[in-house]
Each structure stands twice: as C-alpha cells, then as structure tokens.
Symmetry: C2
Subunit: 333 residues, 2 copies
C-alpha cells in the first residue's frame, strides 16, 4: 500500500498465450493496480520469435494488438530489447526447453546482467541452472520470481517462502500436472481405458497432440526440481528425478483402488533430504490430495503449522499471467 | 534474505496457550530464523493477567519458565511494559472478547501509540474496531498483522493480500471452525446425534465445556468480519453477520444429504458487496470444501486465477504461534 506512485517499465519476451495473457491482464488491471499498490505498469517492449516492438513511453493497446495480428516491424533483436530499452522488469514467457534451457536462459542472464528483475513462467532455465541464476540475481541485487512455473495460478512458492516463513518445511507432495489428473479422473468416472480418455482430452484441448511430456511425468519432474531448489535449497536438476508416468494405469487398477477406498494420482514428492520422485500413488479418497478434473494440489508438511494444502487451477494463460502479475507487484510491495 | 543481522525486540501480552506457544517456538527456532532471515528475536517483556517480567536485554528461558510456573514479580503493569519497555513488536495474545474487545483493544492502541508494530491472535478488537485500528496503524507508520485470527496455521489473509495481489477477489467461503467440522464429520461417520458427538468432542478436548461460541456460529462470524474488513475493505462488525449454527442438524438430515452426494458443513461466506453469512450448507462430496475432522478450509474466488482453496489446521497453540511468528518475520522481509 504505497502512497507515492511509481512507474514500473516491463518487457515481455515471448508473446504466445502466456505473454499475450500478461499484456491482457495488465490492460484490464492497470487502474486497479495503480489504485491499490501505487504502481503504474508500462509495457515498453515486446518480442516474440519473429519480431519486436518498442516504445519507451509505453506501448499502446493498438500497437500490442498489431503485433498480435501480424504486423512485424523488425528493427531490433530480442536481446537488444532486454539490454538497450530502459526497463525494470523482464517477463520471460518463451516456451520451456528442458534440454538446453534456451532461449530463456540467455534472456534471463542478459536481463540480470542489464540490471533488470526477472519474472518468468519458463521452467527450463530454472530446472537446469537454478543455482547459477540465483547467484547472478543476488550479485546484481535484483529479484527473480517464478510463481507461474509451478502450479500456474496456485500460489505455492511464495506461500512457502513468505506466509509460512516461521516454519521449517519438511516436504511437499502433490499433483502438479492437470492433464494427468484429468485423464485419471475421467478413467475412474467412466471406467474407460487410458487411450480412449487421452483422445477425449486431446479433443477438448486439455492434452497436447504430443502428450508425452505430461503423461510420462516429465512436466511434473521439472516442477519438482524447481521446488527442490527454491524451497529446500537443494542443487538438483531434472536428471536427478526418479520418474514414472501414467501410461500403464488400467481401469482395472483404478477400480481395485476405488473398492479399497483409494484413488490413483500422479504424485510428485520432494523433501529436504534425498526424495525427488514422480510416480502414480494410492491416495485415500478423503485425503486433501484427492482433487478431480484438471486441478492441481500440493500438501506442504511443516514442523509447526502441520499440513497445509493448496488447490488451484494449474494451467491456462490467464492463470499463469495472474501469477506473473502478482510476482511483478510482489517485487514492489 | 537479509544479509545484515537485526535485533527485533518483542513483548508477549497474554501468556496462555498461544502466548506460551510463541515463547516456545521462538526458543526452538531462534537460530534458524537468524540464519534464514537475519533477524534475532528477543523477548523483552511478558505480561499475563497476574504478573509481568521484563528484561531489556532479552528474557532468559529460565525466567520465562518461572513466570509459567508461578513466580510472580509484580513490579510493573501490562501497559507499562507496552509503553515503557523499548521494543519493536507487541504480540497480543489475550483471550478474545467480542463485546468490548478488551483488554486487547487497549493493548493494541497503546502499542501503536507507543510506536510498536502489532501482531495478534485476538479476534475481538479486529471484529469490533478494525477501521479505527488500521487508521491508527497507518498514521503511526506501523504494521498490524493478524494471520492467526483466521484459520490458525492456515494462511489466508496474507495469501490473498500478497500471493494473489494481481487478482480481484470476488468472495471467500469456507469452514473456519474446527470444532463444528469435527462434530459434523463424526455425526456422518457414526450416524450419531449431535449431543452424543458433542460430548465426545468435549472429552477429547476438541469442544470447550461451554461450546456455544463454536456451535452457534459466533466464532465463524467473528472471523468472517475480519476477512470482510481486511480483504474486502468493508466496514463490518460482528452484528452485521447473518448467523445460524449447527445445533439443529440431525443424523437424518446428514444421511439424506449423503445419499444425494452431499455433506452438510457450517460455511462462512463473505464477498465484496453485501454477503456476510454463516449457515449450514450442502456441499458436494467432491468439492474442495469437503474436508473432514477438525480441518479448516477456505475457497477464494478470484477474477484471474479462478478458485484457490487452502486447507489447514484451524486451531492449536503451536499452529497459532507459527502464524504469529510468520507475521513477525513478514514485517521485516
């Protein structure tokens, strides 16, 4: 609740669903944010794979729309925007790459070197080079926030680090992939086999044409690595995770579990010692981890506050954009 | 993650279960907090109904134990501690009084007037005089934090204000009283009448000898008022809440609900307009609000992030103390 108004200039690097969502929510919320937090957010640069637009006084909604609809003034590169255009926060929203982390990794390093805070939804660089990025962040006296990388709109990283600050965190376990949860939920509801429900999920846009990253547990594993590093101070990478997916789960297995009072969910589990694991697990029906549909859920085990569970939508561009917006505001609160 | 160490001197006013819990968790966590947050918390004064101990250099664990076990050096009053002993944060943990708000209200006003931050678990003053207290807090440039008043260890106020900062909050609904939840859960499980289960809850220490505040919905109503004022900026007091309790719920009603796929829960509901209501409500079994035992739960409806649900232990002295400790740390983060 600042009383003096402050202009916060941001760039959006990567202008797909999430980056576009960020521009959209800032447009919708600009006045409310200024009123509530005393921050005037100006988008001064946007870059996607093919083109770049820049206006040091803040891009108009029209200019942003034009970029979206295909007019391409290609007069600078993405790295020029990050380095040369004066701004406070770079929003990195390019697609995740868990092999090289690029191009996100270079964008983040360049932004920090140029004295910008980083807010991101891009899991790859954090799953591969967390410690290096944090050391650079500290060295430059900046902030890096990444709530959108885990659980979409469901707050978990900031919840643990801020709201539960007095607590020792023992472990986190949960459902961190909405596609897998949807498939398993529908298999139970309809008694149908995996392939059938996967096809339905693809038709509904819940699973991608190539669903392998979701159903093989890779996406959950990458999110776990981010939690391992950021919450537990571990130095893990994606390769350290013990991963199994949901492709071998049969309607018969789900029925047996059901008769015994359980559901089967793809659970990611991380603690402060050795555990870093993604696998299908029996969950009692009355456990808070038993949530249906595409929901995500995480149970945080603490030494003082007991178990805290948080449930929310794990995916969706507006949800991710809302986490990014909260992160931007959080830097200035 | 501060690098320079800072001493934070606190007083604990009210030394029952919660106040004692605060001293206990600070004793257990002192080194960890210094390491993680660069804050050295010193308890410089403790006051309960009968006596006071003060040491401007920080009370020893021995001195605190002696107060607990009955040695009573009565050389100053509670208000002297708040006013005269130099410290940064007053922790107010006296019992809740929803008629006058006293003695907590006077303690809080005195602390703010004396230039102290206030962290509290005491619902009464906030349910009666929220706006007045906040105006004084702002005027004095201090902070007032009260996470422990609603949902115990379950973070909700800070979750909404910090983690969901980019969102407009439409409404909050949930189970905010663990005693009622325990009674309704057991009535369903055992098919037993209200009186029988209440007696069991009293024997297990879950319900008080006089359970009226819990079962009549008063406790839930007071917590709702705090949410109405702090989250939605309303100017409500306890008298504005439409309240019904659980005393008339029969095993037959629970069974009918169960057969139709529902449970009955005592739900508090508040939004940014008119709604401020506590009543038993049908909740679908697969709704995130359907949690059992003594758990608390709240679903926060937002404009961007969709529904976020948080589940945790609503009561218990260590849980409340953990919320107070997180609030103290939060002031300096």
């Amino acid at each position: 609740m600042k009383t003096k108004q402050k202009t916060v200039r941001i760039s959006i690097i990567g202008f797909g669903n999430v980056g576009g969502g960020v521009a959209e929510v800032i447009k919708r919320k600009r006045e409310e944010i200024t009123r509530k937090y005393g921050i005037d957010i100006k988008i001064v640069g946007i870059a996607d794979m093919k083109s770049v637009i820049v206006n040091e006084n803040g891009l108009s909604d029209d200019a942003i729309m034009k970029l979206k609809t295909g007019e391409k003034p290609e007069y600078v590169t993405t790295l020029d925007v990050i380095k040369e255009v004066e701004h406070e926060v770079m929003v990195e929203a390019t697609p995740t790459n868990v092999v090289s982390g690029e191009p996100g990794l270079t964008h983040m390093i360049t932004a920090l070197e140029s004295g910008r805070h980083v807010v991101t939804s891009n899991k790859g660089p954090l799953a591969l080079q967390y410690r290096k990025l944090m050391e650079l962040t500290t060295k430059k006296g900046k902030e890096m926030r990444f709530e959108a990388t885990v659980g979409g709109a469901m707050p978990i990283i900031s919840l643990v680090r801020e709201n539960l600050a007095g607590n020792g965190i023992m472990s986190i376990e949960g459902i961190l992939n909405g596609t897998c949860n949807y498939i398993l939920t529908r298999m139970v509801e309809e008694g149908l086999p995996y392939e059938h429900v996967l096809k339905e999920a693809q038709e509904r846009g819940i699973a991608e044409a190539d669903p392998s990253k979701d159903v093989a547990g890779t996406d959950t594993a990458v999110k776990l690595v981010i939690l391992a590093n950021s919450v537990f101070g571990r130095d893990a990478t994606y390769k350290d995770v013990d991963v199994a997916g949901i492709t071998d789960i049969t309607p018969e297995a789900l029925k047996l579990a059901n008769d015994a009072g359980y559901v089967i969910k793809l659970i990611g589990e991380v603690d402060r010692d050795e555990c870093l694991k993604v696998a299908p697990r029996l969950v009692p029906k009355d456990d808070p981890l038993n949530v249906g549909g595409t929901l995500n859920v995480a149970t945080i085990k603490t030494d003082l506050a007991g178990d805290i569970t948080v449930i929310g939508k794990g995916a969706g561009p507006i949800e991710a954009a809302s986490a990014i917006l909260s992160d931007i505001i959080g830097i200035y609160m």
